[in-house]
C-alpha cells in the first residue's frame, strides 16, 4: 500500500522552517474561491486548480487560499474574492482558468485590480 512517506513530510518541514526563518511568513492576501454546488458545476474546481498551481509556481507563502459556499449569485459563478490585507475585498465574477491566472499575476502579486472582471467591491451581507 502506498503510504505517505514520513521522510518526505519531514523534508518539507525542514525546508519550510529554513525558508520562514529567512522571511516573514505572515499572510498578505486571502483568496476565497466560492465552492457551492453552483460554483462547482460552473467550473470552480478548475479555477481552484489553476490558482494552486500558480501559487506553487510563483513560490509565494503569503497567499492563503480558502473555499466558501454559495452566496446567492449562482448565475455569476465561478466567483473569486481577493482580499489584500488592509484593503476592501474585491469579488470577481465568471472566472475561468485564464482570468484566474491574470488576476493572480496582476492583482494578487502586483496589487492592480482587474476591473473588467470585477463584480463588486466589499463583503456580502447575509440577511
Amino acid at each position: 500500500m502506498a503510504k505517505l512517506k514520513i521522510e518526505d513530510l519531514k523534508k518539507i518541514k525542514e525546508k519550510v522552517h529554513a525558508e520562514t526563518a529567512l522571511r516573514d511568513g505572515s499572510r498578505r492576501v486571502k483568496v476565497t474561491v466560492h465552492m457551492g454546488t453552483c460554483g462547482i458545476a460552473s467550473g470552480a474546481k478548475q479555477v481552484m486548480d489553476t490558482l494552486m498551481a500558480e501559487i506553487a509556481e510563483a513560490n509565494v507563502t503569503d497567499v492563503v487560499v480558502t473555499t466558501s459556499g454559495c452566496m446567492g449569485l449562482c448565475s455569476r459563478e465561478p466567483l473569486v474574492t481577493v482580499e489584500v490585507l488592509g484593503r476592501d475585498p474585491i469579488k470577481y465574477e465568471y472566472v475561468n482558468p485564464t482570468k484566474m491566472r491574470q488576476i493572480f499575476k496582476r492583482h494578487i502579486l502586483e496589487g492592480e485590480v482587474q476591473i473588467p472582471f470585477v463584480l463588486a467591491r466589499g463583503a456580502e451581507i447575509v440577511k
Binding site: 502506498a2 513530510l9 518539507i12 519550510v16 486548480d49 494552486m52 507563502t61 473555499t67 452566496m71
Partner: protein
Amino acid sequence: MLELALHILDIAENSVRAGAKTVNITIEEDVAEDRLTLTIADDGRGMDEATCRKALDPFFTSKKVRRVGLGLPMLSQAAERTGGSLELRSKEGEGTTVRVAFGLSHIDRQPLGDVAGAIMILIAGNAGCDFVYRHRRGSGLFELNTREIRDEIEDVPIGHPEVLKLIRDNIYEGLKEIGASA
C-alpha cells in the same frame, strides 16, 4: 456535475459547513456485485428527522441566500440513473452520513474524475477540518488521514503547496497501486 469527484467536493463542503471536525470519505469498488459505493460521513451538527426528509427536495435548502438546494438531489439522480440509490442518515448533534450506491459498470455511471485534486482542494480550503479518504477495490485499500499528516509536519500549515503536492501525488500513486478503475 459530470464527475463523482465534483460531487464529493460538493457534499463534503456541506459537512464542513455543518461544523464537522472530521469528514470520512470512502469509495468502495465491488466488482463481483457490480457496485460502486460512496460514503461521506461527518461529525457535524446533524439534522432532525423532518429536515433530513426534506434534504433531497431540490426546492429545500437551509441557506437563506437562495431558494434551491441542488447538491444532494443531483447526486441522488446520478445514482438512480445507474440503478443505484442515495441513503441519508442523520442525528442531531452526532453527524450525517450520505451513502450512495452506483452500478459500477453501468454506462450512465459518472467517471470518478480527479479525486486527488478534489481531496487536495478540500484540505487546502478547510484548514480547520480533518479528512480521511479511503478507497477500496477488492483486497486493495488506500487510506489517507490528514490527522496523521498534521502530526508529522507540526507547525507547517497543511495548506502549504509542497505538502499538498505530496498528498496529491500520493493519492494518484495509491489509486494506481490498488488498481482503482472507476
